[in-house]
C-alpha cells in the first residue's frame, strides 16, 4: 500500500511559535519521505536539542531526539550499524555549528551516506534568543543586550572545507523547492548537508520572512525584490564531473565564493556535489568485504544462548 503524506505525521502537538520557519522544514521532510516512498520503519530521524530538536517527534518514522550538539554522532553510529536504514539528522545552527562544530567537521571527513539538515535562524530560540553561530558580527537581534561580538560561521563554506560531498541551501518558506532539495540530498551517495534559512519570528527581528522577501528593498524599487534566488536558475554547475584535481578544486572554490554572497542577493540550491569521493561504507568494504550484506545490526552472534564467534585461532596462538 502506497504511503501518503499523512502517514508521516504523528499526533504529537506541535508547540513551535505561530509563523515559525521550522514548520516548512518538517512539511518538506514529510513530503520528501512520502514522495520517495520510504517505509516508516526504514527511516530514522535523529535530532539535536532546541526547537528543531522536537522535529523527530512530529515525523512518523523512527525518531531519536539526542543531545545538544551530538546529533551527528548518534546518527552516524546508527547508520554504520544498520546501513540499510535511511538516516536524516536535523538540528539548529547553534547545535551543529556551535557546540557540535567538532562533530560537523569530523562527519565531513567520514562521508557516511546520510543527510544533515541545519535549521539556520541565527539565534538560540528555546533559551530566549541569544546569538547563535550564524548571526553576523555587530548585529543586534531583539533580546541581545548588546550587538553580537563574534564573526559568523559560514555553514556552506565549512561543509565544503570539511569534506561533505553534497552541500546545499534551502529556504523554509519555499517548501516545494526544499522538498526537492531534501530528495536530492537523501539520494546523494555520501554525506549531504542542507543549510535551511529559517526565520525565527520571535527572536530574530533582522532576518525575518519580510526581510528575505525583500519588502524593504521593494520600497526603493518596483522590480522583483526577493533577496532569495535559485542557483539552478543561473549557469551555476555544482557537480564534480570527473576525478581530476583541477576540476575538484574549481568546484570547491566556486562553492566557497558563492557561499559568501549575502545581503541583497542570497543564493539557494545546490552549491557542491561530488560522488567521486568514496563513501565511508566503501572504505569499510575494502577491509570488510561483506560489511553491507552482513552489517552489525544483522549479524547473528549466538545460538541457543551460546556464542558462535570462533576465537580458537587467537586462543591457540596464546597457548604455552
Amino acid at each position: 500500500m502506497a504511503l501518503k503524506l499523512a502517514d508521516y505525521k504523528t499526533e504529537v502537538h506541535n508547540d513551535w511559535c505561530p509563523g515559525c520557519g521550522d514548520f516548512g522544514i518538517v512539511n518538506a521532510l514529510q513530503m520528501a519521505l512520502a514522495e520517495m516512498g520510504i517505509e516508516r520503519d526504514k527511516a530514522t530521524i535523529f535530532s539535536g536539542i532546541g526547537c528543531s530538536g522536537k522535529t523527530s517527534h512530529f515525523i512518523n518514522t523512527y525518531g531519536v531526539h539526542t543531545l545538544h550538539g551530538r546529533v551527528l554522532t548518534f546518527a552516524q553510529g546508527g547508520k554504520l550499524a544498520n546501513p540499510e536504514m535511511t538516516v536524516v539528522a536535523v538540528g539548529g545552527d547553534g547545535d551543529g555549528l556551535g557546540i557540535g562544530a567538532g562533530h560537523f567537521v569530523a562527519a565531513g571527513r567520514r562521508n557516511i551516506d546520510m543527510t544533515y539538515i541545519i535549521f539556520d535562524n541565527g539565534v538560540y530560540g528555546l533559551t530566549k534568543g541569544q546569538a547563535s553561530p550564524t548571526l553576523k558580527l555587530g548585529e543586534k537581534t531583539k533580546s541581545l543586550p548588546s550587538p553580537n561580538t563574534n564573526y559568523n560561521v559560514n555553514p556552506i563554506g565549512l561543509a565544503v572545507a570539511s569534506g561533505f560531498t553534497f552541500v546545499a541551501r534551502g529556504y523554509s518558506y519555499d517548501v516545494r523547492h526544499l522538498k526537492d532539495l531534501i530528495i536530492k540530498a537523501v539520494r546523494h551517495k555520501g554525506l549531504s548537508f542542507l543549510d535551511v534559512l529559517q526565520p525565527c519570528p520571535t527572536y530574530n527581528d533582522i532576518n525575518t520572512r519580510d526581510w528575505y522577501a525583500g519588502i524593504d528593498l521593494a520600497q526603493e524599487s518596483m522590480e522583483r525584490h526577493s533577496r532569495i534566488y535559485k542557483l539552478e536558475d543561473t549557469h551555476f554547475d555544482p557537480m564534480v564531473h570527473y576525478d581530476n584535481e583541477t576540476e575538484v578544486n574549481e568546484k570547491l572554490s566556486q562553492a566557497l565564493i558563492k557561499s559568501l554572497e549575502w545581503g541583497n542577493k542570497i543564493p539557494i540550491g545546490v552549491f557542491y556535489q561530488n560522488e567521486i569521493i568514496s563513501q565511508y561504507s566503501t572504505r569499510l568494504t575494502d577491509k570488510i568485504p561483506n560489511y553491507l550484506e552482513n552489517p552489525p545490526a544483522q549479524q547473528r552472534i549466538s545460538e541457543n544462548g551460546l556464542p558462535i564467534t570462533d576465537v580458537s585461532e587467537i586462543l591457540d596462538s596464546l597457548r604455552v
Partner: protein, 636 residues
Amino acid sequence: MSSIDFTWLIGGPQGSGVDSGANVFSKVCAEMGYRIFGKREFYSNIKGEHSYFVVRVSDEEIHSNVNDVTLMASFDAETIFRHFNEVPKDGGIIYDSDLDKTTTDEVPTLDSYFKARLHKELESKNKPFTIAGVLAIAKEKGVHLYPVSFREILSNLAEKTENPKLKGLVRLFNVLAVSFSLGLIKMPLDPLLQSINSIFSKKPQIAEINKQAAHFAYNYAKSKFGNFQYALTGTTKQPDTILVQGHLGTSIGKMVSGCRFQSYYPITPASDESVYLESHELLEIHNDRPGSTIVIQTEDEISAMGMMIGAALTGTRSSTSTSGPGFALMAESLGWAGINEVPIVITLYQRSGPSTGLPTRHGQDDLLFAVHAGHGDFPKIVYASGDIEESFYDTGRCFNYADVYQIPVIHMMDKFLSSSVVTCKKFDPQKISIDRGLLLDKVDGEYKRFAFTDDGISPRSRLGLDNGVFWNTGDESDEFGHITEDPQVRIQMMDKRMSRLDLVTKRVPDDEQVVSFGVHDYTVISWGSTKGPILDAISILKKEGINIGFIQIKLIHPFPSDYVKSLLKDAKIIIDIEANHSGQLGKIFRQNVLREIDYFILKYTGRGMTSTEIYDSLKKIVENKANKREVLSHGA
C-alpha cells in the same frame, strides 16, 4: 623439588626493546611450565624515559608481584640507579661494564627528586655518585654482580659470524640481556630460539641475527658467570595455559560476546583494546558467513559515546573503551542512555587522576565517579573485574546485564590489569552465555517502546525493525517515547527505570556480585586488580598461621548491601584495600552497610600494589601496630 619464586627485572630507555625482551623472557619461562606474573611500568613518553618490566616466575600459582628482584638485567645506567636497591642478598645484577664510571648527572632522565634521594643515600654510605658507587652498595649487601661489556660482546660476535653490521647494533642489547639471564639461570636455550623465530617469523634475516646473538650471550653467561644459586630448569606444564596481556581479556571477551560495534578515542591505557579489536575485525562464525567488528576512531569521547548509543539502538551489541579523562566527557550521554534504556558497555581502564594525573600509571581513582557519573537519577551498573582471566568472562556478563536490564554498564578495569602479562587458564568461550533479554525480532500490533510492565522492563525494538517504530528523547517521555512533562507519568517513568536497580541485586546470582575467599575476624574488602596481591598476601599469612578473610566486591552499583552485610556478620575488623587516596569503596560500603572501615591500606603512587606490601601492612594490623590509614609506596 624446591619451590621456585623468582623475579626478573629488565629496564631501559623507552623504545629500546624492554617490552619485547620481557615478552621473550616471559614466553620462555611459560613454555618451561612456570607461572608468570609480569608488569610493565613506563612514562608518558615515546622515546628515552625509563621503562621497566618485572616478571615474577614460579612453579606455584601466583597472582602478584613482590618487592624483591632476584635478577636484574640492565643495559643502561638509569635502570641500575633506579632499581639496584630492589635486589636483595644472593640476587644478581647483570650490567654493562662500560657504564661503571657513569655519574648520575650524566643520565639526563634521572629527575632531581630521585637524584637528591639517591645522593643522600650514597653520601651516607660514602660512595661516589656513579654506577660503581651504587653497585658497591649492592655488593656489600651480598648481591652478585655480573659485568659484561655489551659492545665488546657485539664486536666479538661480529668477528665470529663475519657480519660487521652486528658491531653497532644496540637494538640487540635487549636480546643479549635476556640471553645472559637465561644462561645464568640455566634455562635451556631452545625455547628462546623458538620464541625469536615466532616473533620474527616474517623477517628470517633478523631472526637469524637475533638467534646468533642469543646463542653467543647465552654461552658466555653459562661459561663466565658462576655462583648464582637460582636455576630454572623447568617444571610440569599446566594443561590449557595461555600467556596473555592485560587488554586481551576484554578484547577477546567482546568478540565472543557478540560486540559488533566499538567506537573510541585514543587514550592510555584503554586504546590497546580497540586497536586489537580492529586488527581482528574479521570474525569467524560457526556455521555462518564471516562476521565483523566495526571499530571507529572518533573525534572525541563524546562522539564515541554518541556513536555507540546510535549503534546500540539498532540492536547491535555496542561498546566503547576509555580511561578517566575520556569517561569524564561521556557523562552527559551516559544519562541519555540511562533515560532511554539503551544497553551499552563502557570498558573503563582507569589510570591515576585527577585531570591528566599520572597518565601512564595505575590508579583505582574512578569508582565514585563511575557510580555517580551523569546528572539526574538514572539506573546503571558498575561492575569490576579482579584479574585478566576474570575480565574475559565478566565482559560476557556485562553485555548480558546491559541487554537484560536495558541499562548502561560500566566495566571497571585499570592500568595495572592492562599492562600485566600473566599465565592463566585458557579462556573458554562456551562458558560465556548470551542473553539478549527482551530484544524483539518482530513486532505485531501497536508498539510502545517504554510500555509499563510488571517488572519495569519493556520489550525492545530496534531501529529498522518492521512495525517497531519508536521514539527516543533525552526529555522525560511517555510510553511511546514522546516528550511529556506530565507529573503523574513522570513518577511512573522514574519508578519504572529506577526499579531496575533492585531487580539487578535480586536477579544477578550472588557469586557474580561478590566473591568470598573466606571471612575471618580480620577481613579485607576490596575490588578490582588488588585481588591478586591480596590473595597472595593472605596465603603467605595463612602459612604463618594468621587467617585473614577477603571478599572481592564485583557488583559495586547497585551495591549488594544485604548480601555483603550477611557475609561480614562474623568479621570483627574490616580492612579496605584500594589503589586510591580516599578509600572510595570504603565510602560506598559505609553508606550501604552502615558499618565503619577499621583500617585502610591505600596506594596512590601510580604503581600497582605488590603482595609484599599488603602482607607487611596486614601483619602490622594483626599485630595492632598499624595506623588506621596505611599508605604504600613501593616501586620506581
